[in-house]
Structures are given as C-alpha cells and as structure tokens.
Symmetry: C2
Subunit: 286 residues, 2 copies
C-alpha cells in the first residue's frame, strides 16, 4: 500500500492504476463500517483508493472538530488489511490553500434533517467531496447508508454536475445490540453506550408499526420517539421522510419511507435511520 499526502503524489500514483478505481473517502478512526465500504469498493472495481481527512469545513463552529477521534496508525493497518492500494492523507493546507473561496451546494436537500441543525455542514461535505473526486478521479465512490442524507446529497451533486462517477450506497453496519457503528460512539461512557441501544430500537418499533399498516407520519414518529426516549438523551429530531427528497411527510407516509433520527447522548451526537418499506435487516431482528 502506498501512502501519499499531496495532490501531486496522489495523481502520479493514480495514473499508474489501470482499470476501474473505487474510492472510499473517510474521516479516519476506521471501524467495521468503513471496512465494509472498502470491501464493497474492491468488489466494484480493480483498485481501491481510501482517503483520510478530517474536513474542518463540515464541522460547525464549536462542534467536535478538535475532539474528533484520530488513529492514523490503526487506520493504516485497517486500509492495508482491506486491500487498499493507495491511501491519501492530505493535511488542511493541501486541501484548503490560502485564498480558497469556492463552494458547492445542493440546495434544499441539504436543508432538512441534519442540515437544519448543522448550518454549513453539508456545503462542507459537498465541497470536499467534489475536491476529492477531482483529485482521485475514481470510477466508483462508496458511501454508507448510515449517513443517508450525505449519501442522498452526494448522489444529487453527482447527478446535477455530471460527475462521471458511480455512487454505491452500503447498508449500515451495527453492533450486536443494533447500535449503528460510528466513530462518535467512542465518546460514550459505558452507561451512555448501554442506553444508546434505544435509538435503533425506536427505528425497529416504527418499522413494526409501518409493517402493521400504520401510515400516519405523526403516529409513526410518535412510536419511534417513545422508544428513543428510553436513551435519556436530547432528541435532536425524529422524522419520517421521503427517501429521495428527505422531506418529512406531512400527514401520510408514502410507499417508500425512511425514519431518521439524531440524538445527543452525553457529548456524542448520534444519527441513525431505517427504511420502513424494506425488510428489517438481519441485525435488527433480535
């Protein structure tokens, strides 16, 4: 595995890769969820490129940028083990040199759910992803469904701006008790970790209600919210949204629907989501 830190080195090494290239952009502190993205990337292409960059532009002022967990050595070992051939670890000056002003924004899709709670977050995401796409020139890029809004926004950006890149979305990887894997789970104390199980249980409860025929969006949200309250955190949002537009259903949930939530538990802000109209994933059936 080659490790590069500058755009020039990256481009040189990238040109040497013949065939299809898959790309997994990450913020590091890699866990099993990232490993799954890498495996899907390798399946979809001949070569795998991974980037690790904690993008300051997608953290709001006062958010957990400085506290965001880092483990460059462990990350290198994970990438190597997952068959990554080229690992790109730029620093901030390489990504945002002086005089930088350009922004890529997808509009409405970035304003719902997390967008309304984290102003500027998704503009930071689309801008850095556009840059990484131009730097890496992948044929395929892989994103997790856990960050469903991010995935939808990247798909919209790629479609609207005609990036010649295929986007692959990968199902959320979960702990045995259902908690979605996240680098931010590391912020949880043991007690908070135990209570965090109620997030995915809230989604499952809504899934059961939807499967039983409930279509009232308020009723579905209420079912989830009551269970999620068991986590004892601050609920940022629990919403039943259209999977394409991410717009909340006003009265009746559609034939395709997502329950999405964000909850603060201790110092961690955790997100999760579930398609209500698709079969419950294996890990959530216990």
């Amino acid at each position: 595995m080659k490790i590069v830190t500058t755009i020039d080195e990256l481009r040189r090494e990238r040109r040497a890769l013949k065939g299809r290239v898959a790309f997994v952009p990450t913020m590091g502190f890699l866990h099993e969820g990232h490993r799954e993205l890498m495996r899907r990337g390798r399946e979809a292409a001949d070569h795998l490129v991974v980037s690790i960059f904690v993008n300051p532009r997608q953290f709001e002022p006062g958010a957990d940028l400085d506290a965001y967990p880092r483990d460059p050595e462990g990350d290198r070992a994970v990438c190597e083990a997952e068959g990554c051939e080229l690992l790109y670890m730029p620093d901030r000056d390489e990504m945002y040199p002086r005089g930088y002003t350009t922004v890529v924004a997808v509009g409405e899709l970035g304003e719902n759910l997390c967008g309304s709670r984290r102003p500027g977050h998704f503009e930071g995401v689309t801008t850095v992803v556009a840059k990484l796409f131009h730097q890496v020139s992948p044929d395929v890029a892989v994103f997790g469904q856990k960050d469903r809004q991010q995935l939808a926004i990247v798909r919209r950006m790629v479609r609207d701006l005609d990036f010649p890149i295929e986007i692959v979305g990968v199902p959320t990887v979960r702990e045995p008790d259902g908690l979605a894997l996240s680098s931010r789970n590391r912020y949880l104390t043991d007690d908070e970790r135990a209570r965090a199980v109620w997030l995915s249980r809230g989604l499952v409860a809504a899934h059961q209600a939807y499967s039983a025929g409930e279509r009232g969006s308020e009723a579905l949200v209420e079912v989830a919210r009551e269970v999620v309250a068991g986590a004892g955190g601050d609920i940022d949002y629990v919403e039943c949204v259209d999977p394409d537009t991410l717009r909340p259903f006003e009265e009746t949930a559609g034939p395709a629907a997502v329950m999405a939530l964000a909850v603060r538990i201790g110092s961690a802000r955790l997100i999760d989501n579930l398609r209500l109209d698709e079969p419950l994933p294996e890990e959530l059936r216990r």
Copy 2:
C-alpha cells in the same frame, strides 16, 4: 466533425479521442474571437471539442436570453473550418433535467464588477462550466480575456476544486477600430456601432496615463470615463482593479492593474478591459 447532443453520445465519442483534448465552451453565434480560442485549443492539444449552449442560468431574469443571437448552421461551419472534431450542442433539458438544484459558486470574485450588476450570473457560469468539464473531461480548456472576470472565476474554481484541467486565457480579438468582438455587437445599429469605438479608446487613454506614471486609481478611471462618455451610452461601470482579485484599487493602482468597463449602448450591454501594465496590443496602437 461529429455533432452530438446528449451526454451519453458525447462521452462515447470523447473516449475515442486518444491524447490531449482541448475544450472551447461557447454560447454560439461564433465570431473571429471564438475562432482564435479554437486555434489556441488546437495548438495546446491533439483534439478539439467545442460546445454550443446558451446557458439560461447565466442570464438574469429579464435579460437578453430569448433575444440572444443564434446561428447553428453558421456555427457548425466555423467549427468544422477550425478543426473541431467533436461539436456538442445539448438542449436545456439535457443540461438541466427536472429536480436540478446544485450550484457552484466562487464567492467574492463573482461579486465585483459584472457580478454586482448581474446577480446570479457568475454562479450560472461556474455551475455550467463545472458540468461541461465533467461531461467533456478535457485536459485543457480555453477562455477569452475579453470576459476577464469569467476567466478569473473559472481559474479560481478550477484551483479551489482541483479540477485536473489546464485553463488557457486568450487575448481579446478586436475590430480594426478597436471594438472588442462580441456576439452582442450584433444588437448595435450603425450609429451605435460607430460610437462603440469610444469604449476601447477609453481603455487606451487610461493605458497612456498609466504609462506616463499616473497611479491614482480615481484619476485613471476619470481619464477612461471621459473618453468612454463619447459613446453616449449608459456607463454601468468603469473600474481600475487588481488583475487577481478584481477588487477596485482604493487609492493607488498597483504594479499590475486592469481597467474594466461595461456600457449599455442601445439594447447592447458591452464589456471590455485592458491590462494597464502590459504593452498595448497591436490593434489598439492606431
């Protein structure tokens, strides 16, 4: 010369071009200025791709979108004569399908000069240029210095978002009397056309003053403005700006300086500009 109208056809034909590809994006109604861009493109690469698309998103509401001159047959002949191998003529639905929301914006650089008079114009430019770049995947793209702010903005976007594309700027082509070539010159009546000569003469007057040592930015603007007034149009702006930032000099013009102007004559809004610190171009020495 192949002519294509869809992104799929374009990509198929583009893949068949081996070696370096130059790209000249245009809004059609091609004149000698565009021909010069194409010649420079051919010099810089092995193949030449030209696009013709009158981009609705860079016209403000109520601007001359519907009146913008078109001549598809003449344009095809020009492209063919200039050695274009692939001519791309998408329609609006191909460029902006339903649900389109993404915007690319360069911030401050798009807010001076024409940006402050044409709200949304440069966001329309950067967005369509980003799309065309992704559709065509050129190695080199060629833009005219006549649209100096556009050129600066495209360079900024390319640098900030790391597009793997070299941008070439080409000196303005002028009529024998100095008027910068523009598709919009066609809006001028004979009388207006005769008076339009005072635009470039104003720039030359400022150039003479600068060469004689004048560095007061207000004084330089005043020299230009007095001559430009001879055109009898509505002066939109005459400004002495930094060539990199396009910011007006507050008191003293720098060692590098541009005089830029926009004037409405009849139904045409004409722009022109001149580097004051570089030798006067041949065509303006008469």
